[in-house]
């Protein structure tokens, strides 16, 4: 029998990130993964802004950028008849996220209104992301990574979870006793099935799409500066698709088609049609897949939780699959740590589902809108005229305008990525102000309780996020009031909850944070804010640590 604090089932990006986040909090874990290696399929192609903020907190953002699209390379999305052209539209500068990371970082540093994330997105394939995470997990002494081991079954009681894991090759079995188990084991989650939790939603609304992964050194030459665009949406009469380059410095390309090759079509003929020219390439793999819009009805039972694709399956339009899962892991990690360290109360772990299930549903709705927008744009291509007449030119311009208006929502929805708020959370002290307007596309910075703290920089250039405690609460206090924080620090110390005070004296930050006191959780979300500290701060501390209801 092996003992650990948390058994993580699934060694994909979400499971590995969860174990790394737990390690940062000083919590040991075992990660079991039935595959012996990380994925060889490109899979996801973006780590979004919020996920990069999380990876920054975990100390991984630079390593991930090193493994992905070069910092100087574009993150453009284009609309074209084929990769060889003509290009109807290229979204390159209308929003931060299309800019090369180096340029986006400058824009972020120059912003003082909190309207931008701390990190820009990163174009990267999952097959290049996972090795970075696995390497980080293997170097952490408190993480026991067991690739080539699978979960066989588990039982839970009031004391913990006893699981049987099995070496996939030898069949050797081991018992693991953990305080908690988290199933990050994907869309066909064994853990979710053991818990008898269903997805909410109807399957297969779009049917069976088709994907081809190929390698080519020649495709880059079709793009300016030999830098393939991130996404090239393809549409012309008789052909629609999406060509993805997850990394401009590599020769991997993924061609998405809305259906499998027709009778008489070959994979090669489909690729040739997408590229618009005959060049050399090597097909790595291909196959059908079924996009879904599903969210689990519950995020766990008792001492067993779910995160990642085991809680939701989305069509990739909008890039919210792994990114939603990563935010789930980030939300869960500090709560597990606080509970294990005994300063977290009984409702702390309950709040995981209360906070994240509504976000998962909202993200599903957003992804559906993105899917609809991309279908509407690309299928209009059957009407486009490619001739060099005024009518042909007007037709292409009309298509380009429609594409930018509709498909931009897939990329520019900072409201969805960083504007989510934990409304009605049992561990957030209800704000006395009405909830500010929420917009899916435009992020509205606010410290309204439950929102993510807007990101900004100190006068010396340090990011405020870098000064927040990843393992405890941080009380932001305007400098002239920082001496008044004793009641809060004492109340936290009385129950063993870590709480540090960060005095803020920069006028732009005092204006941005809206209130002189803002209590921030380890996951960057505002737990409470006020014009003055209560005389007795214990009730506030008890709510935010899950020891009493708001």
């Amino acid at each position: 029998m092996i003992r650990t604090s948390v058994l993580v089932v699934g060694g994909g990006p979400v499971g590995l990130s969860l174990s790394i986040a737990l390690s940062q909090q000083g919590v040991p874990s075992i990660v079991v993964n039935d595959r012996k290696t990380t994925t060889t399929h490109p899979k996801l192609d973006v780590v979004n802004c919020r996920s990069m903020e999380i990876f920054r907190q975990l100390g991984l953002s630079e390593r991930i950028r090193d493994a992905g699209n070069p910092r100087s390379a574009n993150q453009y999305s284009a609309f074209a008849a084929s990769a060889a052209g003509p290009m109807y539209a290229v979204m390159s500068d209308r929003h931060l996220i299309y800019r090369p990371v180096a340029d986006a970082e400058k824009r972020i540093r120059d912003a003082v209104d909190g309207a931008l994330p701390l990190e820009s997105m990163q174009r990267i394939a999952q097959m290049n992301l996972e090795p970075v995470l696995l390497d980080a997990a293997r170097s952490a002494p408190s993480i026991d990574t067991r690739f080539g081991w699978r979960l066989y079954g588990f039982e839970q009681d009031a004391e913990g979870v006893t699981a049987m894991i099995q070496d996939v090759e030898s069949g050797r079995s081991l018992h693991v006793h953990a305080d908690y188990l988290v199933g990050c084991d994907g869309p066909n989650s064994l853990v979710r099935n053991f818990l008898n939790i269903d997805y909410d939603g109807t399957r297969d609304l779009v049917g069976e799409l088709f994907i081809i992964h190929f390698k080519s050194d020649a495709v880059a030459a079709l793009y300016p500066d030999r830098q393939p665009y991130w996404h090239t949406w393809l549409c012309r009469p008789g052909f629609v698709g999406l060509l993805v380059s997850p990394d401009a410095s590599r020769n991997d390309f993924i061609l998405h088609r809305p259906f499998a090759p027709r009778p008489g079509e070959s994979l090669e003929s489909v690729i040739d049609a997408a590229l618009g020219v005959k060049v050399a390439y090597e097909i790595v793999q291909s196959g059908p897949w079924r996009p879904q819009f599903l969210v689990a009805k519950a995020f766990g039972r008792g001492r067993v939780f779910l995160a990642g694709d085991s809680t939701h399956q989305y069509m990739p339009t909008g890039g919210l699959g792994m990114n939603t899962g990563l935010a789930e892991a980030h939300n869960l990690a500090w709560k597990l740590a606080a509970t294990l360290k005994r300063w977290g109360g009984e409702t702390l772990l309950e709040s995981y589902e209360a906070e994240r299930l509504p976000v998962a549903r909202r993200n599903r709705d957003h992804v559906k809108k993105c899917a609809a927008a991309s279908f509407e744009s690309t299928f209009r291509g059957s009407e486009v005229r490619l001739d060099e007449t005024p009518e042909g030119k007007a037709s292409r311009e009309s298509l380009a305008r429609d594409f930018e208006a509709k498909t931009s929502r897939l990329y520019e929805s900072l409201g969805v990525e960083i504007g989510y708020r934990y409304v009605g959370s049992p561990i957030v002290v209800a704000d006395s102000a009405p909830e500010p307007d929420y917009d899916e596309i435009r992020y509205v910075p606010t410290t309204w309780s439950g929102a993510r703290l807007p990101s900004a920089f100190r006068a010396d250039g340090t990011a405020v996020f870098d000064q927040l405690d990843p393992s405890g609460f941080t009380l932001l206090a305007s400098a002239d009031r920082a001496g008044d924080c004793g009641a809060m620090t004492t109340a936290a110390a009385d129950v063993g909850a870590p709480l540090s005070v960060l005095a803020i004296d920069e006028p732009h930050l005092i204006a941005l944070y809206q209130k002189p006191f803002v209590l921030v959780r380890p996951d960057h979300h505002v737990a409470w804010r006020g014009d003055a500290l209560p005389t007795d701060c214990r009730p506030v501390v008890d709510v935010v640590r899950g020891a009493s209801r708001p």
Binding site: T202, R203, D204, L205, V206, G207, E208, L209, P237, G238, F239, V240, P258, F259, A260, R262, F293, K368, K369, A371, A372, A373, F375, E376, F379, S382, E383
Partner: protein, 125 residues
């Protein structure tokens, strides 16, 4: 003669679809919830003149043959035969094939197409 039969089949298919959806609305909590959350007009028609539109409003779904002047979403088929073959195909992807090769044109919000796909899946059980 064949075209007349295909037109007849499309008229019948649309009428049966409406009946199936109404029956499902009585039985399926999920469809009732969908009906309560949305409001739109969806047109299905063919260039040969056959067509009808579904109106979702006030938690109900109604069907009328003919052409709506301003539907929120329209599937416009090249002819009744193409519509019948695609709409009775169990492979959801057939609609996408039909759009790509020009047998069908779409106008309006594709979200309504996803709504309709889900409703039809529920109706077929």
């Amino acid at each position: 003669m064949i075209r007349a039969v295909e037109k007849l089949k499309l008229r019948a298919l649309l009428a049966v679809t409406a009946a199936l959806l109404r029956r499902c609305a009585r039985r399926s909590l999920r469809l009732r919830r969908m009906l309560s959350e949305d409001s739109f007009v969806m047109q299905i028609r063919a260039d040969d003149g056959v067509g009808g539109f579904f109106t979702v409003r006030d938690c109900r779904i109604r069907f009328r043959p003919g052409v709506h002047p301003n539907p929120d979403f329209a599937q416009i088929w090249r002819d009744s035969g193409a519509a019948v073959r695609a709409l009775t195909n169990k492979d959801e992807t057939e609609l996408l094939r039909a759009i790509e090769d020009g047998r069908c044109r779409l106008q309006g919000s594709f979200l309504i197409a996803l709504w309709f796909n889900e409703a039809m899946k529920l109706a077929r059980g």
